[in-house]
Symmetry: C2
């Protein structure tokens, strides 16, 4: 199985409202739990109990379309509110992410790293030292994971920042975006992903759920084509609409029924009947 490491702060973890988008259930997408793989459901990066939709689910969904019959695993290590200093090479977050990645590598091959971070460094001239810190982190991860050439995909900070709500304090997000872009263009196997057109939750800082679905597609475009994505993709809107209509496989339908039952939304009789009818329909 292939796997992808998710690191950065809250917009990589995901804060889009789950109710705002169609769920993605896909038996070929897994998430790391206790060092093992489980079929994905959102929120998949559970750094907070309020975690929601991030870019990784639609990234993975697009990956599975291009890799029929194969599976992908997501290694969730993003941490809400974390600054670049908290991603120092000897810092807890980095060491923990490396540890989780190594557990994942016992049963998968890491093929990429998705990075989204910088809101917490968008003030107080922190951008002046950001580049060196980011390069140091990437170099360290490549060494520690023994993955010198895997693509690292770098997402731009939202253009809506610096204006309202919690996003108001991110007054220097443009400077951080310049550095994110520079690192992506300068470094080998690093690719930039624009946040053009993405919108925020009412808090003015977190990318909303629909936008996260689009962002994930852009991350996948950069990953799969090994190129910078500097504009909105033509397919975004249509892809999300089509995805919502995708027919679930037998395993996915069983997963969904099991989930409803586990959450107390079905009686045991209803659950049993539904599972029987899924099994008979094959």
């Amino acid at each position: 199985m292939k796997s992808v490491l998710l690191i950065g702060q809250s917009n990589m973890a995901g804060r889009g409202f789950i109710k705002d988008v169609s769920p993605i259930y896909n038996e070929h997408i897994n998430m790391l739990r206790n060092g093992r793989w489980k079929m994905m459901a959102e929120p998949l990066n559970f750094d907070r109990h309020i975690s929601g939709v991030g870019p990784a689910a639609s990234f993975a969904q697009a990956w599975t379309v291009d890799h029929p019959g194969e599976s992908i695993g997501l290694i969730p290590c993003a941490e809400g509110g974390s600054s670049i200093d908290e991603w120092s090479i000897d810092g807890l977050l980095t060491r923990h992410a490396v540890s989780e990645a190594k557990f994942a590598m016992e049963t998968s091959e890491i093929v990429g790293i998705l990075w989204h971070q910088g809101e917490s460094d968008s003030y107080g001239e922190r951008y002046k030292t950001y580049e060196d810190k980011l390069l140091s982190l990437f170099k360290h991860l490549r060494e520690e994971l023994n993955t010198p050439d895997i693509p690292i995909i770098i997402g731009e900070l939202g253009h809506y920042l610096g204006k309202t709500g919690f996003g108001k304090s991110a007054v220097e997000y443009k400077q951080i975006n310049q550095i994110l872009s520079k690192v992506a263009y300068d470094e080998k196997n690093c690719y930039f992903v624009t946040s053009k057109g993405l919108t925020a939750n009412p808090d003015g800082i977190h990318i909303d759920a629909i936008s996260q679905r689009k962002f994930g597609l852009r991350y996948y475009e950069a990953f799969s084509k090994q190129k910078h994505v500097v504009d909105i993709l033509d397919i975004e809107h249509e892809w999300i609409e089509e995805e919502a209509k995708r027919e679930l496989s037998k395993n996915e339908r069983i997963f969904l029924q099991s989930m409803k039952f586990a959450l107390g939304q079905l009686s045991f009789e209803e659950f049993s009947t539904n599972i029987s009818s899924i099994n008979e329909s094959e």
Copy 2:
């Protein structure tokens, strides 16, 4: 800070329905996330997206009452469906739990281990080899964590097993319970906790939310008094009722408002107004 390691299978992770009990918000209870401590909210052991209420929250709540001004951290490593063989000393779950515990120990002192497991071994005469495997795990954890004397609290499997739903296949739960009890009584610093009177979700296997609150209190009774708990505690029902009425601290009220806002249940204006009024009320 003190901390406690949570291991076992789904009833330690927690599958009680969150809507069935009053939430526990307590600024002195933390959960480990990405190697760091965050204020707890349930589900705290996110092995599955359907995780719910386990025994740890009321355990920790009772702990804070006995330790005013101090804080406790919960290290969630329980894995739904795991058998004792999956908790072998070189198995992934055990190595991952040790790894998480060591991250926690950078900023806390582990003072106990809570164990609940055995449903997955309640058939096929697995009980015949269960004792040696459990003892081997406990010895290994004590050595690896360098905590030779900390209490290990062992919860009994539900008396409702072997009858309905998913619990129907756990036909040998009584044999497993005998061994859990034997280990607790034979081993130094191991204590047994009865599941007497606890009830299940409609699935017949998972302890329901109210019962998990009670179970957590029994775990704490065993932990704090260093004794076996062989009967229902007189205080259980009243404790849960009183807890639901506890007034939240300023930080807890802010946590709750932040959560509602993060989940899209408040506008930014409502959120700001509520936070202001909390701050002014002090």
